[in-house]
C-alpha cells in the first residue's frame, strides 16, 4: 500500500488520500463510502484534470504537489493564497481543505443559476 494522508474537509468529514492520488478523487471515494457525511450536497466533480474549475478549494494547511491548472479558474494570486483545483493537487502530508466552488450560491443548480448571473 502507498502512504496514506488525511484530508480534513472543513465541516464535512475526512478522506483518506494515498500518495500520488488526486485530492478530489480521494474525496469522491470518501463521499461514496459515507465518510463526508456532513457535506449536505454532492461533491462538485467535473473533469478531474484541472480544466473546468468546478472543484475549486482552499488549502488551509498541509503540503501538496500541484499539476497544471487552467488559469481561467485559478489566477496566480489566487494560487499563492492557497486556492487550488482539488483535482490537480496531490497531498504530501495530512491537509485541511475548504471546498469553495466557483459560484458558492449555486452548488445545487449550477446549470440554471449560472444563466442568471
Amino acid at each position: 500500500m502507498p502512504a496514506a494522508f488525511k484530508i480534513a474537509v472543513e465541516g464535512a468529514g475526512e478522506a483518506t488520500c494515498y500518495e500520488g492520488e488526486r485530492a478530489l478523487v480521494a474525496m469522491e471515494r470518501a463521499q461514496s463510502f459515507g465518510r463526508l457525511k456532513n457535506l449536505p450536497y454532492k461533491l462538485p466533480v467535473g473533469c478531474r484534470r484541472g480544466g473546468c474549475g468546478i472543484c475549486r478549494a482552499r488549502v488551509l494547511s498541509g503540503a501538496y504537489r500541484k499539476d497544471l491548472m487552467s488559469q481561467a479558474h485559478i489566477s496566480e494570486e489566487e494560487s499563492e493564497a492557497g486556492l487550488v483545483l482539488s483535482c490537480s493537487i496531490y497531498p504530501l502530508s495530512d491537509i485541511e481543505l475548504r471546498i469553495e466552488p466557483p459560484q458558492v450560491a449555486s452548488k445545487t443548480k449550477t446549470a440554471t443559476t449560472s444563466e442568471e448571473k
Binding site: C47, G50, M69, S70, T110, A111
Partner: protein, 306 residues
Amino acid sequence: MAMTGVLRPGFAQIRVLDMEKALEHYTKRVGLHEVTRGGDGRVYLKAADEFDHHSLVLREADRAGIDVAGFKVASEADLDALEKRVSAFGYPVEHVPAGEQPGLGRRIGFTVCTGHRIELYAHADLSDPKPPTHNPDVWDVEPHGMRVRRFDHVLLLGPDIDKALDFFEKVLDFRCTERVDTPDGLTAVFLSCGMKAHDIAFVKFGEPAKLHHVSFELESWADIGHAADIITRYDISHDIGPTRHGLTQGRTIYFFDPSGNRNEVFTGDYTYYPDNPTRTWDETQIGKGLFYYERQAPESFLNVMT
C-alpha cells in the same frame, strides 16, 4: 443529393495545458494520428479514415477550451458567396491566409453570438494516413486506441442560441434536426449541414465561448465498450456512458482529455434527410432526450465545461 455550401465539420482547434500529455491522449488512446507540428507549436492530428489534412488542432495555452470550429465548404465560389451572406447578417469577417494552418487553403472567420469563432474554408490537402481509393481495403493502417474513424462534431455552450439557430439556418443553410424547448425558452439546438443527425449543437448557457465536448465517430457499439476499457485501463477521467442519447439516438461514452476538455466517442445516430421534420423535446421528457437509459443527466454533464 447534391451538396453545396457547407459540407461538413472540418476541424476543431482546442487549447490544452500540456502538449505532450494531450498528444499521448489523442494519438495513443483516442486513436488519432499526428500529421505535423507547426512552427508556433500547434500540433495537427487526423483520423485514419479521413482524407483531409487534419481534423484536430491542439494549441498549448494556460487554459482549456476551444479556439475555433472549422467547416469545409464545397468550392471557392461558395466561400465567397458565404462571406457576403455572413457580412450581410452583420458579423465582421476576417481573412486567414492559406497555410496559416498547414495543409489548409484560405479561410474566413467570424464570431457568432454565442461567442464562438467559426471558420470556413474550401481547400484542404490530403495527408496520410487516409482511406485507400483503388481496390480499397477497409483501412490502410490498422486502427488503434479507441479506433475513432473521424472527427464528427462539437457541442458549444453560450448565450443567444436562438440567434445562433437563425444564423446557421439562414446564412450557412444548416437545418435544425432537433430542438429542446423548456419554460426558459430554447435550451438546445442540433444542426446538420448534410445527412448526419448533427454537425454542430448549441446549448444555452450564461457565459460565452464555452466548449461542452469534441466528438469522434466509431464504427460500432462494440467499439464503445472497447473505448470504456481503455478509459479505465489508462485512468482517463470518465464522465458518463456507455449509454445512448434520445437526442440524435447516438450510442455514446464521455470522458475528459488531460486538460479537462470533454471528449465523446459515439456511433449509430440516425440518418437525416433535408426534408425531414425537426424532432422536438420538452421539459417533461428531457431526461430521456439527454440519456435514454438513465433518463436523467448527471449534474456534471450540465455544469462542467471548458
